[in-house]
């Protein structure tokens, strides 16, 4: 079975390594020798790989006592999370070759639990994108159909988990950047409640929206990783001081659980297959004992508009530090300071990043702050209230993760607005600070991943995971690891 270690869930793999049935090194290399050899040259999920770093990581895992919850488990990490043993480039030329001198808190917690960082995953530059087509290091492709996108901005980790490089991935989600690629790649993708996973070491995009997110092929693995990573961090003042919710009951079933059904959201503009997936998921939840609660919900356009003011405003400030002074790219000729700044930034940032910096700067600038940024923050409060109101009559919402199935490379790159609107169902959770979980629901007629999204109230992760598990088992109590729908090379 050791040749097939890469197929196992994270929890099964960790158990095997703890029991001595497998070594950490074998667990890690299995993904490289098997699926990576088949997929990586097509998919290009990985942006930094280092055999020596992996080996050192596996060795170090052994030195943590050997009993970690994620013992020996390889994890692919989005390239905007700081790692001591790999570069951290955020998919950008402006950070090409940058090695941070510290590990992000979530990375430290992974390692303390015995996990191994197996590679850094490709991403849209500075997490600004929904397709991983805006990376300075080339696009990532969807393993289910390489002419299509894996989603973004965390397309690399999503695709790598989908094809089997690792059973777990970490990404970041500011407007859907974990949930949407998870949906496109047929894996689970969790955006936690804001403040539950530390952002220390996550390169900031929209500070009040960003959360580190988790990719996995099994609902139980999401719960496992969440248990390891969640909790207050003294290096991040936006983490919640009280203990994170306990997700150990993820397999406890959904008897009596009420799921909201905001049907008005998917009238026009949502593909039929996506709606079919929703109906299927709803059916399985009901079969498992949950109750559907139809309700009306605020259309997503307001969320998208609000998001593109708040996120770009915060980003315009967060990205000011990239100036060629202390690290990263510096333009070749910089005769004076003015040239240092403008040439470095104009050459180092791609067009989408520059577009968003300009938009955000405008939204904050003198005379426009009230009309744009302040208005957006008020709209955000309103959106949060809408969710809180909805959760008075249900325990979670069931809605699409994306209006479409995975689209083709190049389809939306010339139309920024169309690209932004693909986040229409995910953005609300970031604005409200609440958790959202993408749940795969099989493949479409053309064998493309279909998914649904569960959105919960603050600290609603336990509910989301129970509901996800019910969908995973198709509404019946099932064996521990339902079979994952692997992509096929064709």
């Amino acid at each position: 079975m050791s040749a097939e270690l890469w197929r196992r869930s994270a929890s099964a793999l960790a158990a095997a390594v703890r029991d001595g049935a497998a070594t950490a090194e074998a667990a890690v290399e299995s993904g490289w020798e098997g699926p990576a050899a088949v997929w990586e040259s097509t998919v290009h999920a990985v942006v930094h790989a280092d055999r020596g770093a992996r080996a050192a990581g596996a060795l170090a895992a052994g030195e943590t006592g050997g009993r970690g919850a994620l013992q020996g488990v390889p994890v692919i990490v989005k390239d905007n999370l700081c790692t001591l043993d790999y570069p951290t480039t955020c998919g950008s030329k402006i950070l090409a070759g940058y090695h941070p001198p510290y590990d992000a808190t979530v990375i430290r917690r992974l390692r303390a639990a015995g996990a191994v960082v197996t590679a850094k995953g490709n991403m849209d530059e500075f997490a600004m994108g929904s397709s991983t087509e805006f990376s300075a290091f080339g696009p990532t492709r969807n393993p289910y159909d390489p002419s299509r996108v894996p989603g973004g901005s965390s397309g690399g980790p999503a695709a790598a988990v989908a094809y089997g490089l690792a059973p777990l991935g970490l990404g970041s989600d500011t407007g859907g950047s974990v949930r949407q690629p998870a949906a496109f790649c047929g894996v689970y993708g969790l955006k936690p409640t804001y403040g539950r996973l530390s952002r220390y070491g996550l390169v900031a995009f929209g500070s009040s929206l960003d959360q580190v997110g988790i990719f996995a092929r099994h609902a139980g693995d999401v719960a496992l990783a969440y248990g390891v990573l969640a909790g207050n961090d003294r290096f991040d003042a936006t983490t919640r001081p009280d203990p994170a919710p306990d997700v150990s009951g993820w397999d406890d079933g959904v008897a009596g659980l009420r799921f909201g059904w905001p049907e008005n959201l998917w009238g026009a503009g949502v593909e039929a297959e996506v709606v079919d997936g929703l109906e299927a998921a709803a059916g399985w939840l009901e079969r498992a004992g949950a109750r559907r609660v139809p309700l009306q919900f605020l259309p997503g356009e307001y969320s998208v508009a609000t998001y593109y003011l708040v996120a770009t405003a915060e980003a315009s400030s967060n990205l000011a530090r990239f100036d060629g002074v202390r690290y990263g790219f510096r333009a070749a000729t910089t005769p004076d300071l003015r040239a240092l700044y403008t040439r470095t930034r104009s050459e180092g940032f791609g067009p989408e990043v520059q577009r968003r910096i300009l938009l955000g700067t405008y939204a904050l600038s003198a005379g426009y702050y009230d009309a744009y940024y302040l208005t957006a923050q008020r709209a955000r409060a309103r959106i949060r209230d809408e969710y809180r109101n909805a959760f008075r009559s249900c325990d979670c919402l069931l809605m699409p993760a994306s209006p479409t199935l995975p689209f083709r490379l190049g389809e939306k790159t010339d139309d920024p607005l169309a690209m932004y609107l693909s986040d229409i169902f995910t953005i609300g959770a970031n604005l409200a600070g609440i958790p959202g979980l993408s749940v795969p629901v099989g493949l479409s007629r053309d064998r493309l991943p279909r998914a649904v999204q569960l959105v919960g109230p603050e600290d609603g992760e336990p509910v989301l995971l129970r509901a996800a598990r019910a969908i995973e088992t198709r509404g019946a109590r099932a064996p521990q690891e339902p079979e994952f729908a692997w992509p096929t090379k064709g």
Binding site: Y98, H99, P101, Y194, G195, N232, F235, A237, T238, T239, R240, P241, D242, E301, Y302, V304, A305, T306, Y308, L309, S316, A320, D323, V325, R326, Y327, G328, F329, R330, T334, D336, L337, R338, L340, Y341, T342, R343, R345, S346, F349, R355, I357, L358, L359, T361, Y362, S365, L374, T375, A376, Q377, R378, A379, R380, A381, R382, R384, P416, L417, Y420
Partner: protein, 99 residues
């Protein structure tokens, strides 16, 4: 169009970005399209109070103690585009001129 050429020049200046002359109009059009879309927000009734904060309250402040994550000079400068004798090196800073 909401955003005109002068606006693009002004905000590019603030953001220290150089937009090539030939692209300014296009950038203005792209940004205007987004802002027009964003104008949808004016249809919501939003009130005038200060918006709430989204960072969770109640976290204790930090105790006044040093030596947690301090870096060695070597590590601090390791990624510097240019460094010399422990300092970061930049083009000359002219005292009465904004860089």
């Amino acid at each position: 169009m909401t955003i005109r050429r002068e606006d693009v020049e002004r905000i590019a200046e603030l953001a220290r970005l150089e937009i090539p002359e030939g692209r300014i109009e296009r950038v203005a059009a792209e940004l205007s399209a987004v802002l027009d879309f964003v104008g949808a927000l004016s249809r919501l009734e939003l009130g005038t109070e200060a918006p709430p904060r989204f960072a969770p309250a109640g976290a204790p402040l930090r105790a006044d103690e040093p030596n947690g994550r301090r870096l060695s000079n070597h590590d601090a400068l390791a990624m510097a585009p240019e460094a010399e004798e422990g300092f970061f090196i930049v083009p000359p800073i002219v005292e009465n001129l904004e860089p």
